[in-house]
Amino acid sequence: MIEIADLTVRFGGVTPLDGMSVTFPEGTCGLIGPNGAGKTTFFNVLSGFVSPAAGRVRAFGVDLLAMAHFRRARWGLRRTFQTEQAIEALSVYDNVALVHEHSRGTRATRRRDVLDAIEFVGLEVDPHERVATLGGRDRRLVEVARALVGAPRVVLLDEPAAGLPEEETQHLGRVIRRIPEHTGALVVLVDHDMSLVSACCQITAVLDFGKLIAAGPTAEVLRDEHVIRAYLGTEEQL
């Protein structure tokens, strides 16, 4: 469970997050909102790349903001990036092992854990293939595999399906839905693909101009008139 209370971020005169309070209980939770709503800023606060002006974040009873950013991965925070960040110079195996060796995973199980994660996300490439030679879909999957090794507690997925064709988005959806059960982690999914969010998330929160405008069961949230107005423009478009 992650509890966020009064989270505020200011960049000069801009307030990308404005008193955000929300609780993500368990399983896979969605976080949606128009471009610039503050979704990635929220992830960056959790990752430690952005310091909030105010607010608290408690994740599984731990004050996340008090932890040095690189230690959060060891604790169990994982994330993917909007622009995929698989390390090109390394092989698929080394990309995943990189996270494992800075996590709570033990050296004795490293090889098995890494290969498990690669298999779990459905990567059908030689683990010793260099990431630089892979296509967009496989790189995304490498990034997701990296987020799953070494006993993750919270997995943040920032638009993992961006730029992927329909069929591959569906594959990704199947992978994401099985993450909580497979790893025990809480997943927070940011995406603009409503069918992916609907398919994966029991609970969804909606941000607009840095403010939380709705949160609850995904189907209800997507019917909420504030959400439709803010995020989807008009009802007809839904």
Partner: protein, 360 residues
């Protein structure tokens, strides 16, 4: 790939591709190369004169320095312009320890490496905040400062006090580090240096292929991605500086034991820039690159002298060399030369088979 179809973005895109190529093809050919190199290196004392053996010794020592810089640039993405100054620092420390203590030679080298490592890491501290051009500038300034300090203090030659320099002895005693009895002869010393060089390359390889190498690869591509993977960016950057400086310090110790010892004018600041040029030319993503770099830096000038060509030609050659490598082969000569030879071989083979068909 011809020069004509290269543009700016294409060069940038070619770098990761070139890297992958080096490492895949490299592993197959490297064994063969290593065997040939090993035989040549070991047979050298029997084949060449003392003079050329001393050049070979200096090539081995400078390949360690080049290796340190190649690690920093190629693996971590940090440009340092004070490696030659650190080499001088290593030489100074080795001489100071040599005259001031009775440490056995291997321990003396090790201590020199560790102390130089600490100094190099301190100079690298700004790297935590700076990168690219600014880091290069800071390290260049540090190199200039070290060069000035050395000119004021001189290399220790057995004098008293902390500096260990005696002006009256300067004419008769060279700032030269005693060699252990086992490495007294030029041939033995050469082989000893080659052995230490091999150990340094092994040390670097163990880092690059292990946990540190993975962390460095992440840092080089994207610091946020590295942090999100749990990499302590500060620690691994400083560790890279420490490792490169440690190796450079050891090279300094070896250089201090070389024939003739050390002189303060042997380490001009601009040599750090020349080192950067040859390291880029050799190739920063392969372990062969630093060897090529050291050959360019230490063997080529002697060859030019031998052929009666002016040594100033080097500046021009290196300038053109860096330009052509940056434009046509970002992974350096170690990739470009074998590739071009393979292309040439195919071209000749085609000609040949074409001629054979015509003859039929």
């Amino acid at each position: 790939m011809s020069l004509a179809d290269e543009s700016g973005p294409a060069v940038a895109a070619a770098i990761p591709r070139a890297r992958a190529w080096v490492e895949r093809v490299g592993s197959i050919r490297s064994v063969a190369f290593a065997v040939v190199l090993g035989i040549v290196v070991l047979a050298l004392p029997a084949l060449v004169s003392t003079f050329w053996l001393q050049i070979a010794t200096s090539v081995a020592i400078y390949s360690i320095v080049a290796l340190g810089l190649a690690l920093l640039i190629g693996r971590v993405g940090l440009i340092s312009l004070n490696q030659i100054a650190l080499l001088a620092v290593g030489g100074w420390i080795a001489l100071r320890l040599g005259f001031g203590t009775s440490l056995p030679y291997p321990l003396l080298l090790l201590a020199t490496g560790v102390i130089t490592g600490v100094i190099g890491t301190l100079i690298g501290l700004p790297a935590l905040r700076l990168s690219g051009l600014y880091l290069a500038l800071i390290t260049l300034m540090a190199a200039a400062a070290i060069t000035l300090a050395l000119q004021a203090t001189n290399f220790p030659n057995g004098g008293s006090g902390f500096l260990g320099y005696s002006g009256t002895a300067a004419g008769s005693v060279a700032a030269s580090l005693r060699r252990p009895a086992l490495l007294e002869s030029n041939t033995a010393f050469y082989l000893g240096v080659v052995g230490v060089t091999a150990l340094m390359f092994l040390l670097a390889a163990l880092h690059v292929w292990g946990k540190a190498g993975r962390a460095w690869a992440a840092i080089r591509q994207s610091q946020p991605a590295a942090i999100a993977a749990g990499v302590n960016v500060t620690l691994y950057k400083l560790w890279a500086f420490a490792l490169a400086s440690f190796m450079t310090g050891i090279a300094g110790g070896l250089l201090a034991s070389s024939a003739g010892g050390l002189t303060t004018y042997g380490f001009p600041t601009q040599d750090s820039i020349t080192l950067l040029a040859v390291v880029l030319m050799g190739g920063i993503y392969s372990f062969w690159g630093p060897i090529v770099a050291a050959l360019l830096l230490k063997l080529l000038p002697e060859l030019l002298k031998n052929w009666g060509l002016p040594p100033d030609l080097l500046t021009i050659l290196f300038g053109i060399g860096v330009l052509q490598v940056m434009l046509t082969a970002p992974a350096g000569l170690v990739v470009q030369v074998p590739r071009d030879f393979a292309n040439l071989g195919r071209m000749v083979a085609r000609r040949f088979s074409g001629a054979a068909e015509q003859a039929e």
